[in-house]
Amino acid sequence: MQAEVKQTDQEVKHAEHSEFVSFTVAGQAFCLKITQIREIRRWSPVTILPHAPADVLGVMNLRGAVIPIYDLSARFGLQQTEASERNVVIVVSVHGKPVGLLAESVSEIISINPDDIQDTPPVDSRNTMEYIQGIISHDDTMVRIINLDAVISAPEQVML
């Protein structure tokens, strides 16, 4: 795992300045590369999937497609989000399929120099370590870069 993270890290470092979208999940700042994001929607109640684990909120209709919605907070092992209209769903594309991620709110678009990305310092939470690809400092806050592939593995495997 460690080796993999490093490798991804390297790739990021070789890149030019890239744009990231930052957002809050359970009070913490996270970000995703702008190219990974398809669209951002306001939260509206989803349809519950029976027997689903706590971090799978349900499914939503995205222009005729049925897409699963994950609670990022629960996914990271933080408390479950009480979703409301103030929250947003970030629609990303994983393995070519759209997937929605619930976040508290979107903050801003930030431009990141790959050289500024730091490795995740080892912390005691394995959950966090797996999902975080690196961290950067932006306006004196720490922003965590999400490793999307780790958060959402193949959609079929995630569920049950």
């Binding site: 999937l49 029976p50 027997h51 499914v59 005729g64 399929k97 079929e156 049950l160």
Partner: protein, 731 residues
Amino acid sequence: MSGSIQDTFFEECEELLEATDEGLTAIEGGDHDPEVVNAIFRAVHSIKGGAGAFGLDDLVAFAHRFETVFDEVRSNRLELDPKLVQLLLRSSDQLSALVEAARDGGQIDEAHNDTLLAALDEYIPEEEEDLTFEPMGLGAAPMVDLGDIGGGEPAEPQEETYRIRFQPLKEMYGTGNEPFFLFQALKDMGELTVKLDDNELPGFDAMDTSEAYLAWDLVLVTKELRSVVEAVFEFVEGLCELSIEGDGDAEAEANALANLDAMFSTPPATAAAPTAPAAAAADAAEGEAPSAPFEPPVPAPKPEAKPAPAEEKASAPKAESGKQEQRGGPKPTLRVELERVDRLINAVGELIINHSMLAQQIANLPVSDTRDVETELEGFKNLARDIQEGVMAIRAQPVKPLFQRMARIVREASSATGKTCKLVNEGENTEVDKTVIERLSDPLTHILRNAVDHGIEKPEDRTTAGKSNIGEIRLSASHRSGSVCIEIKDDGAGVNRPRVKQIAIEKGLIPENAELTDAEIDNLLFAPGFSTAKEVSNLSGRGVGMDVVKNAVTGLGGRINISSTPGKGSTFTIILPLTLAVMDGMVVSVADQTMVVPITSIVETMRGSDDMINSLGADGTLLSIRGNFVPICDVAGSLGLYRESDQQAGVYLLVETETGQRCALAVDDIHDQRQVVIKSLDGVCGEIAGVAAATILGDGKIAMILDPESIIAASPTAAAFDTERRMSNAS
């Protein structure tokens, strides 16, 4: 490239085999229309033609023999008696088997193949067969001889000079052959000098434009074999005076001329084809020379044979085609990639959802008078429905080809078991979704084999029972209130219930002292791992049970039932949705969620009152319906959902499972019944117990489409009740 052409060939074979079967079935039914015979001949002929192109020798050989017999029939030299018709039917089955073997690389039963070939041969007159191959012998042999003599070892091609005298007869010009092009073909082989001999050309006044006066003297220096040079003139053989003299092969030429003479004196042969292997042999002998079978000369066409426009009207082929046109022929069709149709189906599904959304939003508008909009919206809705039905109709296909294949299955099964059965098809033109048809093939095959193997009795037993010694299986299809109903009914012995029960006990499927109703016993046939054959017969055995059939049917969103009367026979009824893209559903709410229950599984709906509910044990509840007790299955509980509100499940959907077990699904409320577009959850999430798929409702929200069967299975009450009842019946 050739791979895809070969795919086309096998696809086409399917159609041709269907046409053959269809024709043979018509003949079997007493229709001896020459056009039916012709159509079969053409179909088999096309299979042979294609098979030849791919070097499928077994298939070519069989198709050739089959076709030859048909040629006899269509030439009225052979009468279609029942025995021959049976042989032709079996041959058609074998042809299918050969096509399948060629496609899938499987093995064929050589002995069976040989038996059929021999049986077919008996209908082909001796001389026919001899003549079939003789012309080839005559045609090919001289070329081989000439090649051998003229060229010696083919490995060392030597330059040779040929002097060619070529004088077309006037008939040649009527065939579209141009001397100039022939010369060009020669020129490609080496050095050619051409000299026109117009000595015979009369003065302008005396010239008859329909006569041929010109001749050419050609000198060709080439390394090509003489046979190749001769092949250039293949098409004009008999339409010209031709001499080809090679330097230093006077002797060879003498031989050649002798051979040619021999050919000239051969009476015109009357029939059929040299086979591909023979042609291949000729090719091999010629080395690299293109294969152009040497043509035994034919009598030069008489001038009056040339079609004059006036006469043409009366000519045979024209008259024939006129007849066909009157008959109408098949309707024109268009081949479309399935994917395009499916895209359209998706788009129409969206359109329908879109309509319900619009309707809902308009209803919510703070406008007092929406009548005009509603009228237009109604029009929109009707149009959308029309489009949807039209698009669904594209995917719909008649079950006829499927049923025809089943006739073959029954024939095979009958001959393997030594029983005599006939399959009667009804409602062949019933149209069903393409995918449904495809996926019905295996279950139907299995049921039919089963019916022949276990249902229909041996002829002697049937006679004893006072039945016709020919067993009858009726395969019918019909549309029944938005579903497709397929019925397989045999007039055999019926389910041997004591035996079935005993086996079920032996296999531990039911307790030894279980008391089951007749229907329950019959349904044991669908239990996993059940097989009634005393030993696994090579027919319906194959390690597959009726449970696989049931799974296949439920996989299509359908249901299967069996009913049986001892001594009278059994009937399997399969109820299927018309299409896999939309379905009729009951929209209900469960724990504040909107869900859809397929209409097909609902027997009736009712609002419950307290006095209808009876406790059973600690937490089991039964609903009393007109004196019957039915276990209640709380849908919310079964799905692991919890109600936030205090609302109680007060509405019951009475459903019936395949095993005939009834259960009342408790839901919070029923909204309405409507057609919903089915959205698969594949790739969205894993399999969810109790959920079959999803749909999008008018408000844009997604609703789960429930699978009553698995909800009941997951419900402790219903399952427990079932076992308890069995045990209590048993004691």
